[in-house]
């Protein structure tokens, strides 16, 4: 006669989840924000991290190559949102500001595309950093 398997008890977290949620869990979140894919690299998810880094950095570099605008300040609500998106790029944004990459003014249509590429790269980087945090806390496997 087969013995019935014990159903999982939700009040008792498994050792794996308990281990995943212990310690300082914000390291991958911060690393992922500062360096695209860094959170996944910290968790030894090399493949995922490499694909995320290639996508986010590729998008950012293409945006710069299209002479997209890198926001340094904002005067109206849409500019605030774009600046928030740019800041999502972490250290890449800081390096661009330091070395003067990107345009100050949008003058051609492709520069407008480039500006959007840079903003969206920052937003994608935030999504990737939150994903690394979820992996670290055990919310996602």
């Amino acid at each position: 006669m087969a013995t019935p398997s014990n159903p999982p008890n939700p009040s008792k977290p498994s050792n794996k989840n308990a281990e995943a949620g212990s310690g300082f869990v914000y390291g991958p979140l911060i690393a992922g924000w500062l360096v695209p894919g860094g959170g996944h690299f910290l968790l030894r998810k090399w493949g995922r991290g490499a694909l995320l880094a290639a996508s986010i950095l590729g998008m950012f570099i293409l945006g710069i190559a299209m002479q997209g605008k890198v926001y340094a300040n904002a005067h109206e609500i849409l500019e605030y949102l774009a600046l928030a998106g740019d800041l999502g790029n972490g250290l890449v944004y800081v390096f661009c500001r330091m070395f003067g990459f990107g345009a100050d003014q949008v003058q051609v249509t492709t520069a407008d595309y480039g500006t959007r590429f840079i903003v969206v790269a920052g937003l994608l980087n935030v999504i990737a950093a939150v994903d690394a945090h979820n992996l670290r806390t055990g919310r996602k496997s």
Binding site: L51, L52, S55, I56, M59, M66, R116, V120, I127, V130
Partner: protein, 59 residues
């Protein structure tokens, strides 16, 4: 300076965003690939459909 046309920009945008969406929104590699392809198709497909709609409206 890199100067893609509008469709090339849409395809590049869809490619990069679909990769990130696929990896972050699904858990298994197979489902990541399928969701990435789904997002890419929707991005590019909707751009083509909307382009035709705007073309017909403008005529």
């Amino acid at each position: 300076m890199f100067r893609p046309d509008h469709f090339a920009a849409v395809v590049l945008f869809a490619l990069f965003v679909s990769v990130v969406f696929g990896i972050t929104q699904r858990e298994t590699p197979r489902r990541m690939v399928m969701y990435g392809l789904y997002c890419f198709t929707l991005f590019v497909g909707s751009a083509i459909v909307l382009s035709w709609v705007m073309y017909l409206i403008a005529r």
